[in-house]
Amino acid sequence: MLAQILLVQCDERPNEALLEKLQQSLQYELHTYHLEHAFDALERVEPDLVLFNFALTRDTDFSFLSSLKQSTSPLYLPFIVIANAFDEVVQQNALYAGADDFLVPPFSSALLFAKLETHLRTRHLSQRLIEKKENLAWYQERLRHEHLIVRNMFNNALSRNLQDCQQVETLLLPLSSFNGDLYLLAKGPLGSIYLLLGDFTGHGLPAAIGTLPTSQTFFAMAKRGAPIGQIAHEINQQLHKLLPENMFLCATLMELSASGNRVSWWSGGMPPALVIDADDSISQELTPQHLPLGILPPQDFEAGITMTRLEEGARVMLFTDGVIEMGIGQGKPLDYEDFYQICQQSRWNMAEIKQRLALEVMQRGINDDLSVMLLHCVPTGYAPRSTEEKLPSLPFEIRVHLTPNDIRHVDPVAQLLRGLSQLEGFPHFKARLYTALSEAYNNALDHGLLRLSSELKDTPDGFEQYYEERNRRLSSLHSGAIDITLSYQPPHRYLRVAVKDTGPGFAAQTQFTQRSTYSFGRGLLLIKELANNIRWFDQGRGIEFDFPLFDDEQVAPTNHQPVLP
């Protein structure tokens, strides 16, 4: 595009010589206006350069020049004044007023064009600078907006962290607004506490990006009560798939049992966690045995965990290497010994450790995200509590008659349990009901129909022989039957269970007696403890009991003495 040149004339008579010179060049498009239309012309022409053909005899000329210059945008618009002013002071005043250059006639076309080109070049630079600035501002705004979205996602991902957990105290000091250190906490279905303290390669947003898959996997698996080794394996697989080669997650995963006296842990690439005994001494260093997460392909991953039993009053301290890398860049590193000393002197009181570390950070400077976590190993108090389960209001009775063929091909206890689990309130009791029903059924089958002797199980290899013999006899069983009856009569909170076989009765039932040794008379013992009102009928061919549909802690109905043979 041709450069647009605005020529501002100060008097009626145009400068013929100048016009002629400019019109010689084909590189410019010339627009000539009188001084009094100069402001309009600026808007209309949008010139790349302004030439003033001035007399410069009046002060008003300077102030006009000045106000015209001020009206232009930050983009450099060169003002070149052409005037018959040999006085240097006049030239100076023009420059101060806003002119960018000064030409005193007579001058050659070559000089004029050289001046024009120089100033147009500067204008071009100015243009590019402004474009870059605008681009930068746009990118900055976009980045801010993207960070906002990502931060939101992070906050949501981490909002699943277990809140108000009395056992855990933390100090989390990210270097930038995104933390490359990761701290996750969740409770398991059996009341254990799962935790993860990790440190992604680097810091800031790129480091933090692995937080999303890691936290999702962690929370989902903790909720299911998965073992620590499996969680480590799964996170490793995720990160190995997602992260670039040079990025990984140093981490310690730990599960504190509901009882509070055992931790299972997996650790890769982290500073050793410390076990602190009740007397405040460091009794163990839990040194990592693995590579960090995200490095090894799943088939090479080592999921081996360590279980550590803890004394009463023990604590476990975990920290990321930001703690002991503090001050390294400034030549004032805080090493392990210094850190341990700080903790010892604070008697492992987290509030005090926080204060002292804050002081150290001020004195030494911080190079990396920094996290410290103290786990108090006491019973978690998260173990599931029993509740009064709501039960169905409809009475029912289930009768099952099993022939040898049924017995060979179906697992009646499991099937009945599956059916009962569909009923309101029953799932809560199904494990215990399974045990009781399974004992009664297996007794009827093993000793009633198959006439097996439990004594076989007492010999060294007898245990398996017993079950082999059981399978052998079962496959050739041709007669007999087992009847199971389950009845439920609300509002009574029990399920009456009756299991009867067509065997010889008490004559074969000698096995099924209570023995206090750790031998194989446990079946009846289990029924006795799990159920009420046990009685034999039909000369010992049948057993009936009431399986309670309430928890032990609740008020139990009168427990009648079992009627035993």
Binding site: Y434, F463, F520
Partner: protein, 101 residues
């Protein structure tokens, strides 16, 4: 439904994870899981976190394992028991032979 094993604490510990039911249907599978266990193992751990049901044959299998692996310099742990599994273990006073938590 599976039974998985792993070594922990640098081969000093052997963990068996039992999921689903722990009764006579698992006799052989359970027996095989500790066949050929390393001599170095000092602690045998049964992790019951995924066990839904247990009955007296399950208890028998535990005793059988203890007998067959021996108690010389070895201890046995039953961990992460659900309330129902725990109840069955308590009834039979397994706490006298196993460390339960």
């Amino acid at each position: 439904m599976s039974l998985t094993t792993e070594y922990a604490n640098e081969g000093k510990q052997f963990i068996i994870h039992v999921s689903g039911r722990f009764d006579f249907s698992r006799v052989q599978e359970f027996r095989k899981s500790y066949d050929g266990m390393k001599e170095s193992v000092r602690q045998v751990v049964i992790d019951f976190r995924k066990t839904e049901y247990i009955d007296s044959s399950g208890l028998g299998m535990l005793l059988n394992m203890r007998k067959s692996l021996g108690v010389d310099g070895r201890s046995y742990y039953l961990i992460n028991c659900t309330a129902s599994v725990r109840k069955v273990l308590d009834i039979s006073r397994f706490d006298k032979l196993f460390v339960i938590d």
